[in-house]
């Protein structure tokens, strides 16, 4: 539930296209294996009727679905069945305007006369009526290309009833239909759903590969690429999003500074901070969660340093703090933040949770910690 991880974003951040991306097959960075398997299947005409793409948000599930759809409908495909990305149908797919490709997500058109559209009604799951529509539309012949493609974005959002309703179609759809299910976590789906699809897992990229890809494909400066790859945990899409949105970065830096201040602060100051945060929680939950995430990252840095590990990007203030505490303190702080996060998500009284968090955070004192008082960047 972190801010950087909403399912819609995943699809909005396709890998870079154009000449820069020439080495990455289909312009998808970091999933050569998955793209290779799909490409071979397309070339040999051995494509299955249902695929399940699993991977963390920002890993490229949506981008992969888009590229596969383009490869299947491209008017002028390249030799290796790569989509050209410039013909009309490729552009239509990219823009989400192709008549033969339907993306099913929370809030969307459905098949019931009473409520034909869920875009404005605050649905929190994909509803059964939307799945019924898939069934009905699937039996119609495609308009333009040879195939009708449904992208379930994401299968995690399917209501239980909706998931069951999909089973029969998922097992034996009409021959012109291709179903692409996107999901964060295959284990969390109904086993009956999973067993009907061919699963393609999009694993996180190794950190050095991600760094190199950011430099090569997106033209990001090396030092920033290193930092982004450490933060994005192997997800190209997420790294690109952080690069594109400087406000995320500012938020991160402020939060880290705040933690560096709080570990030295007395109880009064901490309670003030808890109150401010609690007020923010009522308005903008995501930014509070992002703050907690940054704090987790900060204490994680402390833990790494106190454990004697260097490497990765470690903030200066965390390094200074690590002089003044033992690994155990860092672990207790991490546990406290984790607990606070869980409680907040479970709708516990925010101020109470945050005050307890403030009390649980270790208080650093002593000579070593004074280095913190003058932040070194």
């Amino acid at each position: 539930m972190s801010t950087d991880a909403t399912p819609t974003d995943a699809s909005d951040a396709p890998a870079p296209s154009g000449p820069q991306a020439s080495e990455a097959p289909w312009g998808i960075v970091g999933h050569d294996h998955a793209v290779g398997a799909l490409r071979r299947a397309v070339e040999a005409g051995r494509l299955a009727h249902a695929y399940l793409f699993t991977g963390p948000p920002g890993a490229g599930k949506g981008a992969l679905a888009t590229r596969l759809a383009q490869a299947l409908s491209c008017d002028t495909p390249a030799e290796d069945s790569a989509p050209c990305l410039v013909c009309r149908s490729c552009r239509q797919v990219e823009a989400g305007e192709s008549p033969d490709i339907e993306r099913i997500r929370i809030g969307g058109v459905c098949d019931e006369s009473g409520h034909p559209d869920h875009s404005g009604d605050r649905s929190t799951r994909i509803r059964i009526c939307q799945v019924r529509r898939v069934e009905r539309v699937a039996s119609l012949a495609p308009f333009r290309s040879r195939r009708r493609i449904f992208v379930i974005d994401t299968a995690d959002d399917l209501q239980t009833e909706a998931a069951h309703a999909l089973l029969k179609t998922l097992e034996e759809p009409p021959p012109t239909v291709l179903l692409l299910m996107l999901a964060t976590d295959g284990d969390a789906l109904l086993p009956t759903i999973r067993s009907r699809c061919q699963e393609i897992a999009l694993r996180p990229m190794p950190a050095p590969a991600l760094e190199a890809a950011l430099v090569a494909h997106a033209g990001i400066a090396e030092h920033e690429a290193r930092e982004l790859s450490a933060l994005a945990q192997g997800r190209y899409g997420l790294a690109m999003r952080m690069h594109a949105d400087p406000s995320l970065r500012v938020l991160r830096e402020t939060a880290a500074e705040e933690m560096a201040r709080l570990v030295l602060a007395d109880r009064n100051e901490r309670f003030d901070a808890a109150e401010t945060l609690a007020q923010r929680w009522t308005r903008e939950r995501d930014s509070v969660l992002a703050t907690l995430d940054t704090w987790r990252g900060w204490w994680r840095d402390v833990l790494q340093v106190t454990a004697g590990l260097e490497g990765g990007v470690i903030s200066e203030s965390a390094r200074a703090a690590s002089e003044a505490c033992a690994p155990r303190d860092a672990v207790l702080a991490l546990q406290a933040i984790q607990r606070a996060r869980e409680h907040l998500l479970a709708n516990t009284n925010a101020q109470l949770v945050l005050e307890v968090l403030m009390l649980d955070l270790p208080v650093l004192a002593g000579k070593e910690a004074r280095g913190l008082a003058t932040p070194a960047g």
């Binding site: 494509l47 833990l303 454990a307």
Partner: protein
């Protein structure tokens, strides 16, 4: 109502998808249905004798053949010349079934048509005679998703349908079917398919498709499918899609995610020896290489489990290569059972909910184990209060382990730590028992192992003779209190000021610090509190005792009970920091 029709491979448009293997190889005769012989034999006999029941309920896990068997049954009852109950596969009726064109098989998706209106439509349809065959077969799949009203609307028809109608209900979740439905059907429970039957079937399919798998490959695939044939065939399909038609064992292992990373062993070893640095290093390395952390933790847990098996001498048949087995043997040889169990517990309970792909939950779980940091809320009430209490109970010699990775810097860090308000007692209490207590609580080693005894929660006035029973009860006192709190809150609260004074056979004398508490235990609410304590004693110790409450003044003189010290929490801590001094009541 929409009718779903299985399409024949030959009919699929050339431009479209080739059928996946599990559809292409869907059995067409009872004889091809693997692993369900008792069911298929019964059905064949029914068809051969011309006495099919009017309603069947097929239940069982995914991929065991429910829908398939239903379709074959429909084909067999309508076949022109069935042979010993098997469809002949030659008559026009059978051909139309194979092509998915049969009009007398009506396959319904109950999950998307789950309302009462759809069932009413269905009932009306049953009145019409079959178009060509003898029976009209309604195959209602995912029937557990029907609404209650829909189930009830079906009852009358299901009990006495027209003679030409057969209902087949199929579901993976039979417990959701009302009993009134179940009792009107002949029920068949499809079992998970045995390993050997799965292997046989995937081998047959592999040979038919011209795949070449290294010896033992099919078995790996079958093992991974855990009794679901569709999963097995699908896995085979995926492996071929990734690696091509000839597969080595290595391809299969990596494709199925069975390759145990050498870092998983490093991590397992670090968890057992509580080497903070090595463990974090292994986790970092795994994450930086793009390994999915959840899978990695699963591997570590399974390595620890195997080490435990080896340690217990039960590791005859490990599904491992020699090198891996050797690695585990060294790991097991150098470790205590309790350490392995503690590591398993810590890493087995990592909760990835919320951030499934973040390595942080795993790091926290491991670092908590390695540093002995137990969250404040989980700290047992028995913080050692006085040194003599800790000394009175023989502590298990702690296995040598790296408490701190950088010993050179340790003294410098020790100083600010003792000043931290979290641990007001830290300066008097040596670090060892402190680390030991939470560890003992989290490890809860099996009874065979010499258990580290938690120190008594009270400073006892006398150090005299203690019988075995008394010692046992004192060690178990926390458990007694916890149990009492669950049974009766008041009893639990009263026990906070009470402690076992002496034991004589089945009579336990419990001393209380305050006179009025003794009265409350003895008489309150018709002895309810006393009964609760007795019940708690039997739950915690497995023996029956009678409780005799007495006043125990010396207990009071031993100072404020540690329960108060530890349960005061932040407020008390803060008050003390501001200069408050706790008063004796």
């Amino acid at each position: 109502m929409k009718e779903l029709i299985a399409s024949d491979p030959a009919e699929v448009a050339p431009a479209a998808t080739q059928q996946v293997l599990y559809r292409k190889w869907r059995p067409r005769r009872f004889g091809d249905v693997y692993g369900q012989t008792p069911i298929t034999r019964t059905l064949r006999n029914a068809v051969a004798g011309g006495t099919p029941s009017h309603a069947y309920l097929f239940s069982g896990p995914r991929g065991t053949g429910k829908t398939t068997t239903g379709r074959i049954l429909a084909k067999a009852v309508n076949c022109a010349a069935p042979m010993e109950g098997e469809p002949d596969e030659a008559c026009p009726s059978c051909l139309s079934y194979n092509a998915g064109r049969a009009l007398d098989l009506i396959e319904l998706d109950a999950a998307s048509n789950r309302g009462i209106d759809e069932i009413r439509d269905l009932r009306e349809g049953t009145g019409y005679a079959p178009s060509s065959g003898r029976f009209k077969v309604y195959l209602i799949d995912e029937v557990h998703m029907l609404t209650d009203a829909a189930f009830n609307a079906l009852l009358k028809t299901l009990e006495e349908p027209p003679p030409h109608v057969i209902f087949i209900l199929a579901t993976t979740e039979p417990h959701k079917i009302p009993a009134t439905i179940t009792s009107r059907c002949q029920r068949f429970d499809f079992r998970r398919i045995t390993l050997s039957a799965t292997v046989e079937r995937v081998e047959e399919i592999g040979a038919g498709e011209g795949f070449e798998l290294e010896a033992g490959g099919y078995e790996l695939v079958a093992r991974e499918a855990t009794g679901s044939l569709r999963d097995a065939i699908n896995l085979l399909d995926q492996l071929v899609a990734y690696h091509g038609r000839s597969l080595t064992l290595d391809d299969i292992r990596s494709g199925l995610g069975l390759v145990v990373d050498s870092r998983a062993y490093e991590m397992a070893r670090a968890a057992v020896t509580r080497d903070l640095r090595a463990g974090l290093e292994a986790l970092n390395a795994a994450r930086d290489d793009g390994i999915e952390i959840r899978a990695f933790v699963r591997e570590v847990v399974s390595a620890l489990r195997l080490a435990l098996l080896l340690k217990a001498g039960a590791g005859e048949e490990l599904p491992l290569s020699d090198a891996q087995a050797e690695e585990l043997r060294t790991l097991a040889a150098g470790a205590q059972v309790a350490d392995i169990v503690a590591a398993l517990r810590a890493l087995g309970e990592v909760d990835f909910a919320g951030d499934a792909y973040d390595s942080l939950p795993a790091e926290i779980a491991f670092a908590s184990l390695a540093t002995g940091a137990v969250p404040a809320s989980a700290t047992p009430a028995s913080v050692p209060a006085a040194p003599q209490a800790a000394a009175a109970t023989p502590a298990r010699p702690a296995p040598p382990r790296a408490e701190r990775p950088a010993p050179a810097r340790a003294p410098a860090r020790e100083a600010p730590r003792t000043e931290a308000p979290r641990r007001p007692a830290a300066s008097e209490v040596p670090a060892a028992p402190q680390a030991e207590a939470p560890r003992a609580a989290s490890a809860a080693p099996p009874p065979a192992e010499p258990t580290p005894t938690p120190p008594a929660p009270f400073a006892l006035p006398d150090g005299g003779e203690v019988s075995d029973d008394l010692r046992m009860l004192r060690e178990q006192w926390d458990a007694v209190r916890t149990a009492a709190r669950k049974i009766d809150f008041k009893a639990g609260a009263l026990l906070n000021t009470g402690f076992v004074k002496s034991v004589q056979d089945d009579r336990v004398v419990v001393g209380f610090r305050f006179e009025n508490h003794v009265d409350m235990v003895r008489d309150a609410e018709g002895g309810r509190v006393r009964q609760a304590i007795e019940q708690a004693l039997s739950e915690a110790t497995g023996r029956q005792f009678t409780v005799e409450p007495v006043h125990w003044e010396e207990l009071q003189q031993a100072g404020p009970s540690p329960a108060r010290q530890s349960s005061g929490g932040h407020m008390v801590e803060e008050a003390q920091r501001l200069g408050a001094v706790p008063l004796d009541e």
